[in-house]
């Protein structure tokens, strides 16, 4: 089974387990505000920290709902462009499940300064460190897949490699703020904003771009201009890092989140970050403009433009109704390149 399917399976579990909690939390906020039912309001004996708990029980796993499918897409793209079978198939599959399981138990790291108590703080901090383990298993396996592969730097691969680089920065900054004492300083600062953009935009976002560039020809049956997509990568990558690295620094200097203005000592850094943002957005416009042009004026894409070996590349482009006339018989694993060469 392709590892993308494994990642979607893990994501489905998080969705089933976590989303109802958001449902009941929002319902309770509505009945409290509209009908005045006492649930969280301290004037009626309620506890607002309980609201925070219920909110984050869903909203932390929600970031895994975004990143785990992106990780699955990266796992498909890397073997195709390294022309090499995936390293550590089982480890990648199990780490998806591991992220889903441990990731559902770390919501308290959003609440270290809420006063929920030392034992809870310590346990949530430990679990937060633990959730980094399955994520790094994936990163090591991707890197090991690249080792001695014949790497082809075409647009999906460029964005997949960008994913690994930016996700590593996002993950490592996450470890830093998962430590209790450091978190007291970093909580609700631009550091946090920088961190989650590295994981969510650098991770989930770049994974989405990589997946879009990879499956675009299959989905729409149109070729896009690979040269333009590659050129668009430069402003995106450079602008991204100027933008969010500056945010990390600003936060470390003490710039708080959610303020519409700032003190004079933060001015220069804000200007630098804004310049980075404009560079990045210009790249994004180029990337999506290129795809839009391809959608309307692109040449017909062939069946298998990247030399992929998974099932979707073995059927015509775009896929016919019901994909397969008969259920295909699978005789090898999903990532076998050169099946005639014995291992």
């Amino acid at each position: 089974m392709p590892l993308f399917v494994w990642s979607l399976y893990a994501t489905a579990w998080i969705q089933v387990l976590a989303t109802p909690i958001l449902g009941i939390t929002l319902l309770l906020v509505i009945v409290e505000r509209v009908f005045g039912v006492g649930i969280f309001d301290p004037a009626k004996g309620g506890d607002p920290v309980l609201y925070q708990h219920l909110f984050w029980i869903y909203s932390h796993p929600a970031v895994y709902i975004m990143i785990v499918p992106a990780m699955g897409a990266i796992t498909e793209i890397i073997p195709t462009f390294a022309h090499r079978t995936i390293f550590g198939y089982r480890a990648i599959a199990y780490s998806s499940i591991g992220i889903a399981a441990v990731g559902s138990l770390v919501w308290g790291h959003h609440m270290f300064t809420s006063g929920m108590g030392d034992p809870a703080d310590v346990i949530f901090s430990l679990l937060t460190f633990l959730v980094a383990v399955p994520s790094s298993i994936k990163v090591f396996n991707w890197t090991a897949t690249l080792y001695k592969g014949s790497i082809e730097l075409r647009p999906p691969m460029i964005f997949a490699l960008t994913f690994i680089f930016l996700f590593c920065i996002g993950g490592l900054t996450g470890i830093i703020q998962g430590a209790l004492n450091v978190n007291v300083h970093l909580h609700d600062t631009y550091w946090i904003v920088g961190h989650f953009h590295y994981v969510m935009f650098g991770g989930a976002g770049m994974g989405f771009f990589a997946a879009l560039l990879y499956w675009f020809p299959k989905m729409f049956g149109k070729k896009y201009n690979e040269k333009v997509a590659t050129i668009a990568w430069f402003p995106i990558f450079i602008g991204f890092n100027i933008f969010y690295t500056t945010m990390l620094v600003l936060g470390y200097m003490g710039m708080p989140r959610r303020y519409f203005t700032h003190l004079p000592q933060y001015h220069t850094a804000h200007v630098i970050a804004s310049i980075g943002a404009f560079i990045m957005v210009s790249g994004l416009i180029l990337l999506f403009g290129n795809l839009l042009v391809a959608l309307f004026k692109g040449e017909r894409a062939e069946q298998n433009p990247w030399g992929g070996v998974t099932l979707e590349w073995q059927i015509p482009t775009p896929p016919p109704l019901e994909n397969f006339e008969v259920v295909p018989t699978i005789t090898t694993g999903p990532y076998v390149f050169n099946p005639e060469v014995p291992k």
Binding site: P20, I21, L28, F35, K44, L54
Partner: protein
């Protein structure tokens, strides 16, 4: 059926898939109420005395009567399924109708109970509730939230069972194709099971 009217594509029936989907949905419903159970246990450990007095004020008679009504309706919906499996359409229709009537009776009881509380001024932002200690305000907050959400589920269950009843009457559900009836029955059992938890938590808390 003559070959001229036969569908060109084979009809895909996925009995197991629809069963599993229903169970996953019921699972999310339990988690939805799970949020309320979580709040209840935390607040009860914070205000044990107030929850005790709050429970004393509730009308235990109506609470228990409603439990009997719902348990019996679970029996009748199970009978409706069994009857359909054995091809007894008439009995199935009777059992389904009885289930719907029981559901409506539950809601009537709930109406009597809530209007009595409201008449006494015990409702959110009401004059009597405002004088209660904080723990009892939370108890009544949870009481209205839990029985209210459960009441909505009873209403939804009655709607689903009514639609199923129409399907049975029109012959869309038969002794070989009763999947929808079974899933509706499962939903009705869930409504019943949640009520079995609400009864001791609220009415028997004293």
């Amino acid at each position: 059926m003559s070959s001229a009217t036969a569908p060109s594509h084979p009809v895909h029936k996925d009995y197991e898939g629809s069963k599993m989907g229903m169970w996953i949905f019921l699972f999310t419903e339990i988690l939805l109420f799970g949020g309320l159970f979580l709040l209840y246990s935390i607040y009860r450990s914070e205000y044990p005395v107030d929850f005790h007095t709050g429970g004393q004020h509730l009308n235990t008679f109506i609470g228990v009567a409603n439990t009997v009504i719902l348990l019996t309706s679970s029996l009748t919906v199970a009978m409706a399924i069994s009857a359909m499996q054995r091809g007894n359409r008439k009995l199935s229709i009777t059992c389904l109708s009885v289930t719907i009537v029981f559901g409506l009776a539950f809601l009537v009881d709930k109406y009597i109970e809530w209007s009595e509380e409201i008449r006494k001024g015990v409702y959110p932002n009401g004059p009597a509730l405002a004088k209660f200690p904080n723990g009892e305000k939370i108890f009544y907050g949870l009481y209205y939230a839990m029985t209210g959400l459960h009441g909505l589920h009873v209403l939804a269950g009655i709607t689903v069972l009514t639609v199923i009843l129409v399907f049975v009457k029109r012959g869309k559900i038969t002794s070989t194709n009763f999947n929808q009836l079974e899933n509706a029955g499962l939903y009705w059992h869930l409504v019943d099971v949640i009520w079995i938890f609400l009864l001791p938590m609220l009415y028997l808390a004293a």
